[in-house]
Amino acid sequence: MLDVIQQSIPVLLKGTVVAIELMAVTLVFSLPLGMPFALGENSRIKPIKWFCNLYVFVFRGTPLLLQMYFVYFAFPILWNIQIPAFPAAALAFVLNYAAYFAEIYRGGINSIDRGQYEAASSLGLSKAQTMFGVILPQMMRVVLPPVGNEMIVLVKDTALVSVLSVADIMKKTREIQNREVSLAPYLVAAVIYLIITFVLTLWINHMEKNYSKYDEQES
């Protein structure tokens, strides 16, 4: 048992790097990409609104696993290009998470009091100044908890890429476990996931504390 654990750790840490890379790529692109979709869903221009609604509906309404396979096989089948598994998986993750973030942002924007728009307008702020200077900074505060939640979900979703043979934590775990009949690799993998989510939770809490400096004080 102990030596299986010992063997597993370096192998699984390699997988961890891959998983973290995937998370990083996903967040770097999907966090901002969610915003235009959120704004689009509130747009008064009907085709934009419909497109964004449809986008969110499709990507939230179908399994990420399906989307991943779809992207991976779409390239060779439709355009006869073979792309490596990691970018294919990452693309699916980005598109999928952007839909979730769009929905969270939209909720955040809609939760901002009408009075904020009225105050901004009475001061002569333009639509853009109101959005970027007044509404979105307040939205950040509101969406932090649900966005944090999605990040935790993302940590665990990365395990899905093992089905495309991307060498993430899960894939490595299966490999070791195929050689050694032992539960140890699973335990090590579980501990690694827990450490990542733990660190992420600490960071999210820290961010929330930062933002709470302008919350209403109950006296």
Binding site: G124, P137, D215
Partner: protein, 255 residues
Amino acid sequence: MAEILKMEKIVKEFSNISALNGVDFSVSEGETVAIIGPSGSGKSTLLRSINCLTRITSGKITLNGETFVDTGADGKAKYLPEKQLSKICSETGMVFQHFNLFPHMTTLGNITYAPIKVKGIPKDEAEKRGKELLKLVGLEAKADNYPGHLSGGQKQRAAIARGLAMDPMIMLFDEPTSALDPEITGEVLNVMQQLAAEKRTMIIVTHEMGFAKEVADRVVFMDAGRIVEQGAPKEIFENPKSERLQSFLQSMLRA
């Protein structure tokens, strides 16, 4: 005194209610006008149409010589294009019942944001002026606090300073003390009284009859989307002519 605001035949219809039924109303420079009247009589709607928060159905509004909306040939109100409109409408400052301060900015940040962004005033200059305004409303010690850390009265004074920072031609107040505990309405009313004494042009929707009587140059009584009676405070409060004003004042006394 020069006329700074002129509203003619203002009609505002919401989906099934008509909030304003042909209101004529004007204000002279330096005048303090109090608008009183029962709930739902159209006071807020009138005030909000002055700085374009409410778009009127028909009528004509001229602010400082510039007509920004007029009734078109089809009988519907025609507004100026968005850009010009927002510029003209920002020449009136609005103080809301619920303050509507920006919670993510400090008190000083609230006051300087629009002057910097809209008027392009340099930051240090805007802050210097912002601090003067905070002093005027008695909040110089709270410059770096967030609105969430202020009391209701302090928030409203900060909101007044924010409005003043844009150097508006007219300050509009929509029940500025209605959300406050009775003990602290005084601190806000004092600031407003001071502004009135400086001969700033102000239009104040209020339920504070004592304040209207003491501070206003003119009191306007609205009911059912119309101006029913207006005149000097003494006239309105001591010698009300219409029956509706009489019964309204009776009801305010009982309250």
